[in-house]
């Protein structure tokens, strides 16, 4: 029987059961970053607009598939619960931070892409700052956000995901800039590891949580 009086551990266990026990979150994360790793290739093939459309469609299909799997395969086996706001506080902070950063990125990208705002005078800063500083910031943010998630769920593997994906993205950008590699294979390897772990966790979930014959 799990720890009874440790409310914090019980909270973490609740989050794990509700969000991470089935491995779908890992699979989504892995595929999303795998798409990012081939983004420069598909962009060169399809052009910026159609590439954005294709990636958007692929991500939408992925989320729809995960939602279907959750309803059909996960919920009958694992059950459902509505956590109290306090139980999910750290997860909520991580989620809101991610949304905020995604929104800021989208706004800045739109402003620069449509030339509504002139691009910063990059010529005055050293080349490595121009190239890698944003990627270092992205890596640190990935580590921060995934560490928050890992801490709230008490899951060691998510700490590793943060470092893997952050450093993979940084290495891919460096290779792209200095060696001209279009395929971000360090990020693809990192995302592939996350994806494989997700698939393993999902299969384990299906084995350990058999579908009940008579539903409660």
């Amino acid at each position: 029987m799990p720890d009874l009086l440790n409310v914090r551990e019980a909270g973490r266990r609740t989050i794990r059961l509700l969000r991470f026990q089935d491995g779908l979150w890992d699979i989504l994360l892995g595929v999303a970053f795998l798409l990012m790793s081939i983004y420069p290739i598909t962009r060169a093939l399809l052009g910026p607009t159609w590439n954005a459309v294709a990636v958007g469609l692929a991500l939408s299909a992925l989320f729809a598939g995960a939602a279907w799997a959750r309803v059909v395969l996960v919920i009958p086996r694992r059950g459902v619960a509505t956590p109290r706001p306090g139980t999910m506080r750290t997860m909520t902070i991580a989620f809101r931070l991610t949304l905020f950063l995604a929104l800021v990125t989208a706004v800045l990208w739109t402003l620069f892409a449509t030339s509504l705002v002139p691009s910063p005078p990059w010529g005055t800063v050293p080349d490595w700052v121009n190239t890698l500083a944003p990627e270092v910031v992205v890596a640190l943010l990935l580590v921060l956000i995934l560490s928050l998630v890992a801490r709230s769920a008490g899951l060691g593997r998510i700490y590793v995901y943060g470092w893997l994906l952050g450093l993979g993205n940084l290495a891919s950008s460096a290779l792209q800039h200095y060696k001209g590699y279009r395929f971000g294979f360090p990020l693809a390897i990192a995302a592939g590891i996350v994806l494989m772990v997700g698939v393993f966790v999902f299969v384990r979930f299906l084995r350990e949580f058999p579908a009940p014959r008579s539903v409660s």
């Binding site: 009874l4 019980a10 059961l17 539903v215």
Partner: protein
């Protein structure tokens, strides 16, 4: 022993411990329910790692004490049992924790 007699003495504090709550499986059930607004039977069974029959019998006792509300309904054609900790249950858990702390402090001093 009446509530007002529950003092700081070890014996008094121990005598006031809620016997319904003072059972590991029921305490686990109440602890997990205190973290959620509501949960269904299957989720709780996995969370506290009890068998179907065992959880049912503990829930019956908790419902009898007024600590847990059990609602039976349907989602589509499938039956679903939804469980919720009542205000009385939440208060009893809080009292139980304080009572145990008092008793342990009293026995240690």
């Amino acid at each position: 022993m009446k509530a007002k007699e529950c003092g700081q003495e070890a014996v008094q504090a121990l005598a006031c411990i809620d016997r319904v709550m003072h059972e590991p499986a029921r305490l686990a059930v109440v602890t997990y329910l205190s973290l959620v607004e509501n949960a269904d039977f299957v989720f709780l069974m996995h969370a506290v790692e009890l068998t179907w029959g065992n959880l049912s019998s503990h829930l019956a006792k908790l419902e009898e004490a007024g600590y847990v509300a059990i609602e039976k309904g349907y989602v589509g054609k499938k039956p679903r049992t939804t469980l919720r900790l009542t205000d009385k249950g939440r208060e009893a858990l809080q009292k139980y924790r304080m009572g145990m702390q008092t008793a342990l402090r009293a026995t240690a001093s």
